[in-house]
């Protein structure tokens, strides 16, 4: 139950809607029982030909129950759904609050790209927690107990039979099946996973499969994994139908017992025959309320899994305990000694024995093939990652002692992936700093050769309506607007043509004249102005020096440069 305690706490916040859902659920359920009970009673009464006014009262009851049931059901649905959606909002906020302090470090631990989509999915699946897990049993128990109390007025033994039936259909049968259900659902999930891998490989790896003549085998396998997925789904469906039928059978049998017992009691004179029809009708109706119990176990399981996954994210993360705040108004230098870094899931070191000095106010370029560790090194400088070994000093303070947010607030960062939010260009630029004027923003746009952009231009989710080059330039504009004195730029112009790149760099170097600038560059051009060029390969620094020194040396950089010269676009 520990997985779910977080959820229960979140449910408790919405007390009012929760109580209203339960209340109206109870009302609707009771009204239905009342409706059928009174119709049974009415008909029996009518058979005895009573005075008409007695019937009139009963008929009024009948109508009342009818309306109460319909309205109760409506109100129950309304409040329970409203409670659910408010809860989803609370879950999102609670989750965000938990995640936020660890971002962006937390994303290194879960590098799989679908983490975020999974989080969203988990939150969505938790909507079933209140609707299908939390309140139906409460309503059920209250209705059952009330019904049983009411029935016991007429016959204790029939009340006991009902109690037995309700335990069977409400608890015993659903939980009996839930055990099997769980294994079956796991198998469905597994076989779906297998099919999904096969489908992906089939479509994305098609060319290689075709050339290597593996396509037929793969197609065969695809058919097989599809069949086994469908087979598992079928088994799941069969199981669902079976458990449903068993539950129906049990409730019908209980009604049968109620009828038999009632008949026996009437025949013996222990029960007034007038109530027989009523009791049978009650029994036939009340079991309807047990139906939601059939799906409860699997939703409970889902909710547990979702909330466990959701709220364990960040569990083993250590909060940043740097207390030192950077004052700003100065430029920053770095010193790295013996830095090793390995991603938790990786076998190989991403960085090995990195020793590096970046003087304050200097301009540094990091170059090297993809996967050589350049971006990771940048992230270490930003305190997004912390080294496994070795030390990083920022202006002579150990990085560990500096508040991470203080590092970020004092740097202008452009990453390889920059996020843009749904909204306008203005809103996305305003992230950079408070109190920016339109003129400043327009100037920045011009500086990155986006003079044609209006501040009111819409930006879609993830900047989907922008080209790669436009996104990079907007990110650069954001960095220019921020105007701090540490520049950390990861391939900021890889999708921009050389001419535009040169113009943007000119303005950048102008603004950053006295600042520290660290640039990962995908091109080996325009590096003559750099104070030092760091060449990386397989997580180590293989060379460093100025452009002229490296060219003169004719080492790794020189060779890369030769290859680049001969590469055709």
């Amino acid at each position: 139950m520990k997985d779910i305690s977080q959820m229960i706490k979140l449910v408790a916040i919405e007390k009012k809607d929760v109580l209203l859902s339960i209340l109206f659920g109870f009302l609707a359920g009771m009204a239905a029982v009342g409706l059928f009970a009174s119709s049974g009673y009415l008909i029996s009464r009518a058979a005895l030909v009573p005075p008409l006014y007695a019937l009139t009262v009963l008929i009024a009851f009948l109508k009342l129950f009818g309306f109460a049931r319909a309205l109760g059901r409506y109100a129950e649905r309304y409040y329970s759904h409203r409670a659910t959606f408010t809860m989803l909002s609370n879950i999102r906020v609670a989750f965000f609050e938990k995640l936020e302090p660890y971002a962006p470090r937390v994303f290194q631990k879960y590098r799989s790209g679908d983490l975020l989509a999974r989080i969203v999915g988990d939150v969505e699946s938790l909507q079933n927690f209140f609707l299908r897990v939390y309140y139906p049993p409460v309503v059920l128990v209250v209705i059952f107990l009330s019904t049983i109390v009411f029935t016991s007025v007429f016959s204790t033994s029939i009340a006991i039979v009902l109690l037995l039936g309700l335990t069977l259909t409400g608890v015993f049968v659903p939980f009996l099946f839930s055990l099997r259900q769980r294994t079956i659902e796991n198998r469905v999930r597994e076989s779906r996973g297998e099919l999904s891998i096969d489908v992906t490989e089939f479509l994305y790896g098609f060319r290689d499969l075709k050339i290597y003549q593996q396509l037929e085998d793969k197609e065969e396998r695809l058919h097989e994994s599809s069949s086994s997925y469908i087979r598992e789904q079928e088994r799941e469906g069969m199981q669902r139908i079976f458990s449903h039928s068993v539950n129906t059978l049990v409730s019908l049998l209980i009604s049968w017992v109620v009828l038999g017992l009632g008949a026996y009691l009437v025949a013996r004179g222990d029960l007034n025959g007038l109530f027989l029809a009523m009791l049978v009708m009650i029994s036939l109706t009340v079991f309807e309320n047990a139906t939601p119990m059939a799906v409860l176990p699997s939703h409970l399981e889902d909710s547990k899994r979702a909330s466990r996954r959701l709220f364990s994210i960040g569990d083993e993360m250590i909060e940043d305990n740097g207390r030192l705040h950077l004052a700003g108004g100065e430029s920053y230098g770095f010193e790295l000694s013996g830095v090793d870094f390995r991603f938790p899931e990786e076998e190989r070191q991403t960085l090995q024995q990195v020793n590096l000095k970046i003087p304050a106010g200097s301009k540094t370029a990091l170059v090297g093939p993809s996967g050589s560790g350049k971006s990771t090194l940048l992230q270490l400088l930003l305190k997004i990652h912390t080294p496994n070994q070795g030390e990083i000093l920022l202006n002579e303070h150990p990085m560990a002692q500096i508040d991470e947010e203080s590092v970020w607030s004092k740097s202008n960062v452009v990453l390889q992936e920059n996020h843009f939010f749904f909204g306008t260009v203005r809103e996305n630029l305003q992230l950079a700093k408070d109190d920016l004027t339109d003129e400043q923003m327009l100037d920045a746009l011009r500086d990155v050769e986006l003079g044609s952009f209006q501040l009111d231009y819409p930006v879609f989710e993830k900047g989907e309506n922008l080209s790669g080059g436009e996104k990079q330039r907007l990110a650069m504009a954001r960095a220019l607007l921020k105007g701090e004195q540490l520049w950390i730029l990861d391939e900021p112009t890889s999708s921009i043509d050389a001419l535009t790149e040169r113009k943007i760099y000119e303005r950048l170097f102008n603004q950053a004249e006295k600042d520290t600038l660290i640039l990962v560059s995908h091109r080996l051009t325009g590096l003559e102005l750099m104070d030092q060029i760091i060449v990386m390969d397989e997580g180590t620094i293989v060379e460093k020096g100025t452009y002229n020194e490296l060219m003169h040396k004719q080492g790794y950089f020189y060779e890369m440069k030769q290859i680049e010269k001969t590469i055709f676009g």
Partner: protein, 579 residues
């Protein structure tokens, strides 16, 4: 839904079975009501003894068991039918895709196809497992109940007959209303619901700009906005079921009232009939209401079904193959391109290749050169036999490619792409996929050695058994290239098609690529989409493509001399970027 209903009702036997089972279920419902009522009647009014009603109780037990049993059978039949339908669709789609998804992957639609194959097929389940069986039940059971009620009491039957149509009528009205309402809210809904994901995805950016904490309120605001918009839509749906509830409730109440009055005032109806009708009436409306929810499921499936039908009806040309063997001989094959055309769409002006004419001798090295979008990769695909030229032909050893068996041709070919695909499996399996099936582990190791990746593999804890691909760890771009080269070394093809990487790899991989191609080309005919000057200079001939046309053909030196556009391109590449 047409497509689905054809498929469903095409399964005659199953449909017939569902009908028969529905009839039986209808029978048990009526029987159940009958026995219940008869027992109450005899005990309560006729004051019979318990012994006298025991046979009725036995009958009731039988009917109840029958009802549960046949409901189970009915559900099973639906589930089975759904499984068959899904299997039918998925097989058809797989077959379709296996013919020619290259075009789709060229158009970048593989992701959509994955979802068609997985989700769309799953979504039709509801139509078969829920909608069709419920529809048949609704066609049979209310009618049976109605007939029985009419035999008991005409007026009650009439009330049912008149009130019943209100249910589908209201359902239709509400369906239209919710649809309109939800369409109105759609944009709002998607904006609100996207906000959370948008914020999570942008969390790094937000943190770096010190804006993350503010977002908490934004998330709450948009979540609550989402709630209110959703509740707006849901309210309509809830009101609709409220109305349905009212209709059936009022109808039942009306029947009860009518019966009671007749029973008391006119004494024109026996207790048995009155009670019998009263028990049957809710069953009648319940079946109608159940159909309503099944109908929603059915409509959900029909969207997916349309998608599937669309996918299946798409015509794509696929590559034809023949029956002949490709006589290997001692030399690798020579190729001829005769008047090769290829276009992506039927629309005019979408030509990717036009009138390509060239001869590629055995052992030769040919480089395909041109700006991006000039059709280089498409030409390589045509030569590989992965897409069918819309006009003209590729000839191998003087015969059209479609003259040979598919297997015979691909046995001779290695294709090294810019982004070699890693299949989920071990590294050894990924290298072995290149082989002809007769290799040993030592062959694999030797191939890895030649491709300069053995050292790396052996440094891994599990060596050649390290899982890669979907499930396992990734390799860097350079390492994947080397793995693809290892595949080629294992296969020793006589034709090599090579799509050279556009960006610089690590020096080691660059060197290995050069050396390996040199080595491999000793025994094969090589065609390269070239991005490196040394590859171009080493080529025996160059196919210079410009907007799908063969602008020039010949060795590098000749083209440099005679072809100003080619010269300009080379000059731009070397001097165009400021060095």
């Amino acid at each position: 839904m047409k497509h689905l209903s054809k498929l469903a009702f095409g399964q005659r036997k199953v449909i017939l079975a569902l009908f028969i089972i529905s009839l039986i279920i209808g029978g048990t419902i009526i029987g159940q009501a009958y026995f219940f009522v008869a027992i109450v009647d005899r005990i309560f009014l006729e004051q019979q003894s318990f012994q006298e009603i025991v046979p009725l109780l036995a009958g009731l037990l039988l009917v109840l068991a029958g009802r549960a049993g046949f409901t189970w059978l009915h559900g099973r039949t639906g589930v089975k039918m759904a499984a068959r339908a899904k299997s039918h669709f998925r097989q058809a789609i797989i077959k379709k895709f296996s013919r020619n998804p290259i075009q789709a992957s060229l158009k970048g639609q593989s992701g959509r196809k994955v979802s068609v194959l997985m989700d769309s097929v799953d979504e039709i389940d509801g139509y078969f497992s829920n909608y069709v069986p419920q529809m048949i039940q609704t066609a049979v059971i209310p009618l049976m109940i109605l007939i029985v009620v009419f035999t008991q009491h005409i007026y009650s039957g009439l009330i049912m007959l008149i009130t019943a149509p209100f249910i589908p009528f209201f359902m239709a009205i509400v369906g239209v209303m919710t649809k309109k309402k939800s369409e109105e809210q759609m944009e709002k809904l998607s904006a609100f619901s996207g906000k959370f994901l948008d914020t999570l995805q942008g969390l790094t950016t937000l943190k770096l700009f010190g804006r993350a904490q503010k977002q908490k309120d934004e998330i709450e605001k948009s979540s609550l906005g989402f709630r209110d918009a959703t509740m707006g839509v849901l309210k309509v749906a809830f009101i609709s079921s409220l109305m349905l509830e009212f209709i059936s409730m009022l109808s039942i109440g009306l029947i009860a009232l009518e019966i009671a009055i007749r029973l008391v005032v006119y004494e024109s109806i026996p207790f048995f009939s009155a009670f019998f009708i009263l028990v049957l009436a809710p069953e009648f409306y319940l079946t109608l209401k159940d159909f309503g929810s099944a109908f929603h499921t059915g409509r959900g499936s029909s969207g997916a079904a349309n998608q599937l039908a669309e996918e299946l009806s798409e015509t794509e040309s696929y590559v034809e193959w023949g029956e002949e063997k490709l006589s290997a001989g001692s030399n690798p094959p020579f190729l001829e391109l005769e008047n090769v055309h290829f276009s992506y769409g039927k629309e005019e002006g979408l030509f990717a290749l036009e009138n390509i004419q060239a001869t590629i001798p055995a052992y030769s090295q040919t480089a395909i050169v041109g700006r991006s979008g000039s059709g280089k990769s498409t030409l390589l695909h045509v030569v590989a036999g992965l897409i069918q030229p819309s006009e003209g032909q590729v000839k191998v050893n003087g015969e059209v490619l479609s003259f040979y068996q598919e297997h015979e041709w691909f046995k001779e070919v290695s294709y090294i792409s810019q982004h070699p695909y890693l299949f989920s499996g071990t590294i050894a399996e990924n290298i072995a996929i290149g082989g002809r099936g007769d290799h040993t582990m030592n062959d694999i190791k030797a191939a890895a050695q030649r491709a300069g990746i053995a050292e790396l593999i052996e440094s891994l804890e599990r060596g050649y058994e390290t899982p890669v691909g979907e499930a396992g760890r990734g390799l860097s771009g350079g390492e994947k290239q080397r793995l693809a080269i290892a595949r080629a070394f294992l296969k020793r093809p006589s034709v090599i098609l090579f799509d050279e990487p556009t960006t610089g790899l690590d020096l080691k991989t660059e060197r290995i690529l050069q050396e390996s191609m040199k080595e491999l080309s000793k025994t094969s005919t090589v065609i390269t989409v070239a991005h490196r000057l040394h590859t171009i200079k080493n080529a025996d001939q160059i196919l210079f493509l410009d907007q799908g046309n063969l602008a020039a053909l010949g060795p590098h030196e000749v083209l440099m001399e005679r072809h100003p556009e080619y010269k300009e391109m080379v000059r731009l590449q070397q001097g165009g970027t400021p060095a």
